[in-house]
Symmetry: C2
């Protein structure tokens, strides 16, 4: 149950196989394909309905189902990436059909997700939904003119929905807003997740790149990169807080002050992407600062891999390398993307960075 | 939404009013009665069905509904206690009708709770369910011969179900077991919650007291008091861990090593009750040890009340005094019960305890 296949692992294996020469290894493709076939066979809870399980047993029986779109989003990413490396059309048609179902749930009728409609629960938008969908637009439209055109309007809609999470005269990114883009009352409305804002930041940067919108690009760097970094970085012990309250009150989540691996890997991607696009040395400086903390605090020099969960002071709080939410995804995606961006920077006729990347030998090893 | 009334607060106000002379104040009864009327009017999500909301808006609309029995259990406790202090029969009939519904959900047909039946999810029993029901048997049967007789068999059944969470030849209390009382595979099966075991311990002690079963009493003290204390007490920094893994592996919950207020208040009740019944000084010694840690680490000497959430080292991690799960319940229940037990001990012709209770002036102040 706990050692099952991860949907995002299928995506990751295919992505590494496709993008990085040294990972073009048949065993990686075979594993991804086996995972994909398992998903095709077992992911749906009640086929032909498209709702997918979040956890399956080793033999493919559903254990948990989330009343959100995220299992289906990762399913779509895995299927699209499998199509890209194998060329088999059935994977792509799975991806596009699931994408259309997700769009229907998000933009037309969420009732298929199974969430109860309670009269006292305000209609809220979690930033995770439009940002995940924006990431899918990026995934499906990559070097695919037809789908890029098909989903262009959707991409604009997603970007606009993510952008409405910038609240308080541009002074805060809030994780949940009302359906109309207003701040919600109480601690739900004040809830902030700096790593999530930074991840949304690089999804938006790629969107502005596709759309060729430099004014939006500057806004994104200001509001989704620099703002969450400034407010989310612990001035005392370093590292990004997991959760914050926009009024500076104490969050109600027990783990709010912990330092998790993935906000740091997403921050590295965001700042390196921001620097690669525009050349502002301030963004490169933050990339260094985050990377230095990350490689110093999260990596396990003895047995490899990164730890996932540190306490506020930076001490390892959970010794597990993988768990219900830490799999083969954020770390390799960060390392692969940073490697590609750094290689591109180094091949440009530009001055080399003033300081070396911390422990560069490490990056290719995971 | 977040400042709503708490069901357990109604119970607590009535309980203090009824049991402790200095709390027999009309404003406490008025507040409890107002809360009770609000619950009667608004707690049920879709009356006449009995499922209750977990969170309501200030004006009584449901915000969250849990697919468990716990909201209904606290509703039952509140109504029964309201009947005890007001004598109004409508509160008691509400309590008994809800109790019968809960018993139906637990022992006959859980489908009304709305949990999906997934083929890969093993049929598990969470210790919380029989222990909560055992606590209700205690509540409803107190000085009520008719209900004590009505629920006697249920009490035995609950005790037997809680006892089957003692696993591994008596070496571990496991939070989740199979429906047949076997250890579950994986980290779910190894999951331990020392504070919960200790709370179950004093529920069982009261059961053995009602049933007059000294052999069971010795077993409970051994397995639900001393065992969780020995394995759950942090030898390095003191205090009870929130979660543990029965194999000593790292739990997957981010907050596993934090020190929460309620396991400590439940431990104080359990050990003082164990000592009061049998006189074993070892149990009094543990009570002292827990109370000393608790009053030193959790209480706020400046503004009163207890903090709820410390990090492993004992530093306050969340400065909130109340939150989604910390209300007017564990602290006053602990202080009221300990005060009653200590008064009874002091009025006995027995040698006085060798060491004073830490900061006794504090106890009555909350």
């Amino acid at each position: 149950m706990s050692d099952g296949l991860r949907v995002w692992q299928v995506w990751m294996y295919c992505h590494l196989y496709r993008r990085l020469e040294r990972f073009r290894r048949p065993e990686l493709l075979d594993a991804a394909r086996a995972g994909g076939e398992f998903l095709l066979h077992s992911a749906r809870v009640a086929p032909p309905a498209k709702k997918c399980a979040f956890v399956l047993t080793r033999d493919g029986r559903p254990v948990k189902v989330q009343r959100t779109i995220f299992s289906e989003c990762f399913y779509t990413m895995a299927m699209n990436e499998l199509w890209r490396v194998t060329g088999e059309a059935r994977y792509q048609s799975e991806a596009v059909e699931m994408m259309d179902q997700i769009i229907h749930w998000v933009r037309e009728d969420p009732s298929g997700l199974g969430r109860p409609q309670l009269p006292g629960a305000p209609a809220t938008e979690s930033m995770a939904v439009p940002m995940m969908l924006l990431n899918l637009v990026d995934q499906l439209g990559e070097e695919d003119e037809e789908l890029a055109v098909k989903y262009a309007e959707l991409g604009d809609w997603c970007a606009q929905r993510v952008l409405q999470h910038v609240q308080r005269d541009g002074q805060a990114v809030l994780e949940h807003v009302s359906e109309d883009g207003e701040e919600l009352s109480g601690c739900l409305g004040r809830h902030q997740n700096p790593g999530h804002a930074l991840e949304a930041g690089w999804f938006l940067l790629r969107h502005t790149h596709r759309r060729g919108d430099p004014a939006l690009r500057a806004h994104v760097i200001d509001k989704f990169l620099l703002l969450p970094f400034r407010s989310g970085w612990d001035p005392e012990h370093g590292g990004l807080f997991y959760f914050q309250d926009a009024d500076g009150l104490c969050p109600t989540q027990l783990e709010w002050a912990m330092k998790l691996w993935w906000p740091h890997s997403e921050a590295m991607i965001a700042f390196l992407m921001g620097y690669s696009d525009g050349g502002d040395p301030a963004l490169l400086h933050v990339f260094y600062q985050v990377a230095e903390y990350t490689f110093r605090q999260f990596r396990d020099p003895e047995y490899g891999e990164w730890f996932g969960y540190l306490n506020r002071e930076g001490k390892v709080a959970l010794t597990i390398k993988g768990g219900p939410f830490k799999g083969c995804f954020h770390v390799p995606r960060c390392l692969a993307m940073c490697e590609e961006m750094l290689s591109a920077l180094l091949s440009r006729p530009a001055p080399a960075p003033a300081r070396p990347i911390p422990d560069p030998a490490r990056r290719g090893a995971e």
